[in-house]
Amino acid sequence: MPAIGVRHRLLRDRRVWIGLGVLAFMAVAALTAPLIAPYKPDAQLDIVQLAGQAPSSAHWLGTDPFGRDVLSRMLFGSRVSLTIALAAVAMAMTFGTLVGVIAGYFGGPVDSVLMRLVDAAFSIPPLLYIIVVAALWGDVGIVALTLLIASVAWFGVSRLVRAKALTVRDADFVMAARALGMSSWRIVTRHVLPNVVGPAIVTSTLAIGNVILLEAGLSYLGIGVRPPQASWGSIIQDGAERMSDQWWLTLFPGLAILVTAFACNALGDALRDALDPRQLQPLRDDDTPLITA
């Protein structure tokens, strides 16, 4: 992997710190949810007294119509939302990179077949596709939901990786590597993969935001996460009907989604800029690296 310039530029980029900071905060909150959540996420505290309370010192983010603490539900919900997002994106990135590298490096009919499949997949609206599959499948749990989301998230990665692999395949250094006796397998692992992981990571980071939104949308539609379990999307769903008078039910989980997506995009943008080979310039004397490679 490119080291010197990239690491240096990443460490100096404010977007990296903001993105990582937000995500770290989210991750810590999700991991320590049982410790820091003031209430049990599905405990109906007092259905008469506490239903639909506005934010107060006892319930920072208010309570929902069932008398459950919104903050506690969000903390536990972040576990579901973030896990699904990360797992789905990791799967999509791996699979998309694999397909992209195969299509791009081997080219010809392999490429045509794979890319026409991707074109076909692109033409189906992901939400519609998941709803149909979920309806046919019946009981869609979190694992199935993750797989479904991953199955619609990899096309973008594969397209991009293929385009990059195509240019790398025709690069002089690949020809030089072949002239030095490298096998196709070695060229793929040594030359093509290292040159495409950058773009793959970047698009995947950008996809995390979309995937969280997709999961929220699905939960809102009642697919995937089932009551009383919480995810950010399902909390919004619970509050959707009361948006006019109980704004806190939708505002706070909405903000959480927004901020997470924003942090991922900031991180992705910074990564994209840092990994751009055109920016791989020699360090100038006045650029003191914060960490030496």
Binding site: D172, G181, P194, Q281
Partner: protein, 343 residues
């Protein structure tokens, strides 16, 4: 006499294009002896680079080497080898130095890693001994502070340094043959001489044969013992360098020599060869240089000239070998007369 290190026999390499089949290399034969530096000259599109790629079997579809061609190297026909065995030849017995050192190195690995890689594939060297080998090779190609340089990335080195790295990579396994395809074209003039000198010096010391592809006859004069002149996919003249410069026979070779600047010739305009190379999809019948030639006559339009023997080791693909008197009556080449290209 010992058998030649490399023997190419009627090599035909063609590319299927939309315009038809382009016969980029059309029946090329030559030999290269151990320890020899053989120059291949010709203008762009004459087939010299495709010949080089064909030797290593690196021609990619839609290009292919036609049946009936043979490339014998150290007694083996490379065209009959399995891909796996061919990988063992590449980089190990035959190495290649490319034109563009900017792009011939992978930007994401250190140069030390890239040199070490060669030792790792071919010699099965351990990570450590390969890394040590890389530093040793960098020192061999005259890079100062090699241990430090080995940890640097290609973008941190100058063009000349990078070409030294490329040469180091080619020499790791001490190959019998190095194919250098325009190794200095992309470099500054001052660096060109250094790189050529380095290549000449190292190959002399290691006893490596070199196939030096260039469009620069000056480079040939300084580095090669023998020369092959290619035109339109064919060898049109072959001779020792001394003989070629003293008694070039083929009008194309004469044209190339006339286009070279020389000391002591004053400030006259350099001669040019009118016209351009015909399209490889439709080589003309008869002599392929006819339209650009000042001596062409009706025979040149009908008979495709064979390689005429002129003397020991000197061959020329020109009918003038049989009718030398016609040299006395040059005329305006067809290409110049019809205004195909201005001189």
């Amino acid at each position: 006499m010992t058998p030649p290190l490399l023997e190419i026999e009627t090599l035909h390499t063609s590319f299927s294009t939309e315009a038809g089949i382009a016969r980029a290399v059309d029946g090329v034969s030559f030999q290269l002896h151990a320890g020899e530096t053989l120059g291949v000259v010709g203008e762009s599109g004459c087939g010299k680079s495709v010949t080089a790629l064909s030797i290593l079997r690196l021609v990619r579809p839609p290009g292919r080497i036609e049946a009936g061609s043979a490339i014998r190297f150290e007694g083996t026909n490379l065209l009959a080898l399995a891909e796996r065995d061919m990988q063992h030849v590449r980089g190990n017995r035959i190495a290649m130095v490319f034109q563009e050192p900017m792009t011939a190195l992978n930007p994401v690995f250190t140069v030390g890693d890239q040199i070490a890689e060669v030792a790792r594939i071919h010699a099965g060297a351990s990570r450590r001994s390969a890394a040590a080998k890389a530093v040793e090779m960098l020192a061999l190609v005259g890079i100062p502070d090699p241990a430090q340089r080995a940890t640097e990335y290609p973008h941190q080195l100058s063009g000349g340094m990078r070409q030294r790295v490329v040469i180091a990579m080619a020499l790791v396994m001490n190959p019998a043959l190095i194919i250098a395809d325009e190794p200095t074209t992309a470099l500054d003039v001052t660096i060109q001489a250094q790189i050529l000198e380095l290549l000449a010096d190292l190959t002399r010391r290691l006893g490596t044969s070199v196939l030096l592809i260039t469009h620069d006859l000056g480079v040939v004069a300084e580095n090669c013992s023998r020369v092959i002149v290619m035109y339109a996919g064919e060898v049109v003249e072959e001779s020792t360098t001394v003989e070629l410069f003293a008694h070039a026979h083929h009008p194309y070779t004469e044209g190339l020599l006339g286009a070279m600047p020389r000391v002591g010739r004053g400030a006259e305009r350099l001669a040019t060869i009118p016209g351009t190379v015909p399209a490889p999809t439709a080589w003309p019948v008869g002599c392929r240089f006819r339209e650009r030639c000042a001596f062409a006559w009706d025979r040149c339009a009908k008979d495709h000239p064979p390689l005429y023997q002129l003397g020991s080791g000197h061959q020329s693909r020109c009918h003038l070998a049989e009718e030398p008197n016609r040299r006395a009556h040059p005329h305006t080449p067809l290409a110049a007369a019809s205004g195909v290209a201005s001189a």
